[in-house]
Symmetry: C2
Subunit: 187 residues, 2 copies
DNA sequence: GTCTATAGGACGATAGAC
DNA sequence: GTCTATCGTCCTATAGAC
């Protein structure tokens, strides 16, 4: 892994753990084993480096989700697989976390990947729910768009509650609760 | 409002908007219209002031929720009222937000109010759900604890998604989706 | 109680040598 | 490409006068 690459990966890790304000160029450099000059040679500054890191995290999230949404099995089964996928609950969502970062949300460039990721996720999941409905697998009373937003919210909120409790099991409980609610609408 | 009070309220507002790392004593003083000496006279430092602010925000959240959980109407109606209560979706949850703040979660003293608030909230909501079940209002297949965690997660995640989209309506959509799912289990 | 002065360090970035 | 030196600013806190 070359220096540029190490800088991006270090930034991703630090952004995930400390957020934008809590991540200093110095910390990035140390973690990457690179000097000041090295960092400023490859990137214009902290925002530029953050953009590379955020973009990559967003793509990763999207790719993983798509793999499950487009995977094998009936729609409801794919949704269940997506919801149940093992996640590092106590670390939270690397993209959702940025939502609480003022400097990220205030910068249109940094904000865009975050916005697009969740817009895509909600739409994509709504599509699979609509599929399930057409297949007669799901209650027609459910609105796919609202249901999709609620389910994605359960994951994002599950991270919050797990962190608050200091217990990853709380995340799993939120997912269980959501699946319990969904099950009543599955034929 | 005396100086001490203004300092706490200023800290609450700044903590909500900028988080712990993003909130400086200087900014607190300016917003409160107080000098350095004044702040350090009333509080030992930033963590001490933050504790006062966090504790108050936690109590406020709890009091508001309790007012709805203990309010008039059938259990499901009270839950609906709680979920549908108007909130400043784009500002997020003043307590849930702290969950993403490393310095807060790393300090047991600052962390406690956050932890307790959500532990109480989940338990209290589970109680109302159990009540609804006993009343024959709610499907016995639903686990009160898991359902409560999922519903609270929808709110917390709804904030995340609304902020990501830059649209408070997304929060409302998450709540709608959750209520849509819940409705299928109400007799 | 509140003020100003001051401290030591970190932040984010730039300059210029190699 | 990478290094060290340097910059101006902000951070959090303390000291001591009023």
């Amino acid at each position: 892994m070359d220096t540029r690459e190490r800088l991006i990966e270090s930034t991703r890790a630090l952004l995930w753990e400390y957020g934008y304000v809590g991540t200093s160029p110095k910390a990035i450099q140390q973690r990457a084993g690179a000097g000041q000059g090295s960092m400023y040679h490859h990137f214009r500054g902290k925002p530029d480096l953050a953009l590379a890191a955020i973009t990559r995290s967003a793509e990763e999230l999207r790719d993983r989700a798509e793999a499950e949404f487009a995977g094998p099995g009936a729609p409801v089964q794919r949704i269940t697989a997506y919801l149940r996928r093992e996640r590092e609950a106590l670390r939270g969502c690397p993209v959702g976390r940025l939502t609480q970062d003022r400097d990220v949300m205030a910068d249109p460039t940094l904000r865009r990947p975050v916005e697009e990721t969740f817009a895509w996720l909600r739409t994509r999941l709504a599509g699979v729910l609509a599929e399930a409905r057409v297949d007669g697998e799901l209650d027609t009373a459910l609105d796919p768009a609202a249901t999709a937003t609620a389910l994605v919210a359960v994951l994002q909120g599950g991270y919050v509650l797990a962190r608050a409790a200091g217990d990853a099991e709380v995340y799993a409980q939120a997912v269980d609760g959501a699946l319990g609610l969904l099950t009543g609408h599955v034929h």
